[in-house]
């Protein structure tokens, strides 16, 4: 019996290992900074919405709802995320068994603060371990959110970046920008110049022209604070002929 248990364990472990391996493979092979940002974009938005799903749990009787919804909400995002190159999600699969029951996930608009509250409530109701898992999960979600919104910033800035004809592949300028939670741009400064004033100016202009990144308002404050108040932008044209 013990042996059979080991067997069943080892299967689980093997599966888990395989998943880890897959995740690592994805990370190693696809985690090009820009590529992953771009690719990740669409699924992430979906996920951002899923976070709201926790709202749904609310209507339910609190005591009951709590234990369940939490685990559930989490697992959900994962399966979704999977089709996309999102690596992290997999290993976390643990909570899955718990999660099953709830699946209502309608893409709710944006009650951010609420969801936060919910989360707090839920957290208190959960066992310590679950809480820990939840935190980890949240961090992961935050990260995915951040990279999703990075893609949004990429699109806004790239769409406004008018390169001068003296721009060449291999040039690079680094900017540091500051934002406030409304998405409004506060300041832009050059951290590292390309040596070509026109090129540097074109990058600064691109950020100024984008001006305001409204969608960042959708972010939970902690995600904004952690990732977006201060940002680093590297301009490095790769689509030029020369």
């Amino acid at each position: 019996m013990l042996a059979s248990r080991f067997v069943s364990f080892s299967i689980a472990i093997l599966v888990s290992l395989a998943l880890h391996g897959f995740v690592i493979y994805l990370l190693v092979s696809h985690w090009g900074p820009e590529k992953s940002l771009r690719k990740a974009a669409p699924p992430k938005y979906v996920q951002a919405k899923l976070v709201q799903l926790e709202e749904k749990a609310k209507p339910k009787p609190k005591p009951k709802a709590k234990p369940k919804p939490k685990p559930k909400a989490k697992p959900k995002p994962k399966p979704k995320a999977k089709p996309k190159p999102k690596p992290k999600a997999k290993p976390k699969v643990k909570p899955k068994p718990k999660a099953k029951p709830k699946s209502k996930p309608k893409p709710e608009p944006k009650p951010e603060p609420d969801s936060q509250k919910m989360q707090q409530d839920l957290a208190s109701a959960l066992a310590a371990e679950e809480e820990f898992l939840a935190e980890e999960q949240a961090a992961e979600n935050d990260e995915q959110l951040a990279s999703s919104y990075s893609a949004y910033i990429f699109d806004r800035v790239a769409g406004n970046w008018n390169r001068p004809p003296s721009a060449r592949r291999g040039m690079e300028v680094q900017l540091s920008i500051q934002l406030v939670p409304t998405g409004q741009l506060i300041s832009v400064s050059i951290v590292k110049s390309s040596g070509n004033a026109a090129f540097d100016r074109s990058a600064e202009q691109a950020v100024h022209k984008a001006g305001r990144f409204e969608k960042l308002q959708e972010l939970p404050p902690r995600v904004f604070e952690q990732y977006f108040r201060q940002l680093h932008l590297v301009f490095r044209p790769e689509d030029l002929r020369l």
Binding site: S10, G159, A203
Partner: protein, 432 residues
């Protein structure tokens, strides 16, 4: 044993998670912008006046036309402007943001003792910053020069490339006059304004070439009954005949130091490349081949000549090391490549290239070997590159008429120059 296996797996997982961790957590989020758009820059050029009174030349209109013609700018029409600021203090950036302007040029003029002084500024509209403020002075007749100077400064700041708006073009026109052809050597601003007659003749004039200081022209004239090379000073119009050999005397080209001319003479039998020292008046034969060698042109370092030769069976472009005498073939694509000119970077070769029976202007990157056909017109000839390497002029046919056209070296901008009476041919872009 199984247990140890499990422990091993656990260890492995731990290692994996440790390996993954640093990849995914970073102190400050960095976003890499690797793509962009390359649209013409929207720029507002507010009218430059003297206390509201217009100048003898509409300077801001000239600047606007210059920038528009470069293809890299899209000036905002004056009728759309919401305000006419003359100084940086008078600018309401909002007025210009609404119009989509990325940059704004403002300027004001003072007039004292017959001298106009224009104080002009370039501003970034979105960040509300002044890029520069400069002053330029000149007389009544120099207002166009002042305008081109402003264009050059704005172009350099925004594109990172020196402007070429203050340069000139030499060209030859041919038109019937009293039933006979009349040939003229002309020089004008690169925008076609201030056209000036250098030489008029009943016999053909060919191959104008600028001296490196842009003060003299060398050219071929048939006025003596056979082709001869002359040079002429632009300021004084003084002329001097340099060659009078039997046969072909053609295709002069100034060395970068201005001391020598490369040219083609057929006095020894068939066309060969020579250099002519303007000081010592000595000719030196540079090629010895039974095939035709013609159309020499100096590399920017003055150490080599590029020329056209049919020594390989079809016209192709070769490079001759002047000290070593070694010859190297440069072009391999197509069965006809001729009339080479090098951009100032010494890397971009432009030439007449036959493609499917049609003559186009093509460029070849001498480092990578990439060949690009730049023009869609045909019967294209005589390419000449702007000193800033951003654009070239060439002669082509529109209907049956010879006209000049321009194309940017990235082939993104193409236009015809204003039509003139008669045929226009053989443009030569001044080096300054």
């Amino acid at each position: 044993m199984r247990k140890s296996g499990i422990t091993g797996i656990c260890l492995l997982m731990l290692l994996c998670s440790v390996a993954v961790f640093p990849l995914t957590v970073s102190a400050e989020l960095t976003i890499e912008i690797t793509q962009g758009v390359d649209n013409p820059t929207r720029i507002g050029i507010a009218p430059i006046t003297r206390d509201g009174k217009s100048l003898p030349e509409d300077v801001s209109k000239i600047v606007s036309a210059d920038l528009q013609r470069s293809g890299l700018f899209r000036p905002i029409p004056r009728r759309d402007m919401l305000s006419f600021p003359a100084t940086t203090k008078e600018v309401y950036y909002r007025d210009w943001r609404i119009l989509g302007a990325e940059y704004l040029v403002v300027g004001k003029t003072t007039h004292r003792g017959g001298i106009y002084e224009i104080t002009f500024s370039l501003l970034e509209v979105h960040s509300a910053k002044v890029v520069f403020t400069k002053v330029v002075k000149g007389s009544n007749t120099q207002l166009r020069d002042l305008a081109h100077y402003i264009s050059d400064e704005v172009y350099l700041a925004v594109t990172g490339i020196p402007g070429a708006f203050s340069t000139r073009v030499a060209y030859v026109t041919a038109a019937p006059f009293n039933g006979k052809m009349r040939f003229r050597l002309m020089v004008s601003d690169v925008d076609g304004a201030r056209e000036r007659l250098m030489l008029e003749s009943k016999e053909p004039i060919m191959s104008p070439a600028w001296s490196p200081d842009a003060k003299q022209l060398a050219y071929v004239s048939f006025e003596t009954g056979r082709p001869a090379i002359f040079r002429q000073d632009l300021a004084t119009a003084k002329r001097e005949q340099l060659t009078n050999f039997r046969g072909l005397n053609g295709a002069p080209s100034w060395s970068p130091d201005g001391r020598q001319l490369a040219l083609v003479l057929s006095k020894d039998g068939n066309p060969e490349i020579y250099t002519f020292d303007l000081q010592s008046r000595r000719f030196t034969r540079r090629t010895k081949h039974f095939a035709i060698d013609t159309e020499p042109n100096w590399t920017p370092d003055g150490k080599s000549l590029i020329f056209t030769s049919d020594r390989g069976g079809s016209p192709q472009i070769y490079k001759l090391g002047i000290a070593s005498g070694s010859v190297e073939r440069l072009t391999f694509r197509g069965s006809y490549n001729a009339r080479p000119r090098l951009a100032k970077d010494g890397r971009t070769l432009v030439m007449v290239h036959r493609d499917q029976g049609r003559f186009h202007i093509a460029s070849q990157d001498l480092v990578t070997g990439d060949v690009r056909v730049l023009t869609q017109t045909y019967l294209d000839e005589s390419p000449t590159v702007a000193p800033n390497g951003a654009m070239l002029l060439y002669a082509t046919k529109k209907g049956s008429k010879g006209v000049l056209a321009a194309v940017s070296l990235d082939a993104g901008v193409k236009f015809f120059l204003p039509a003139r009476f008669g045929d226009v041919r053989e443009p030569a872009w001044s080096p300054k």
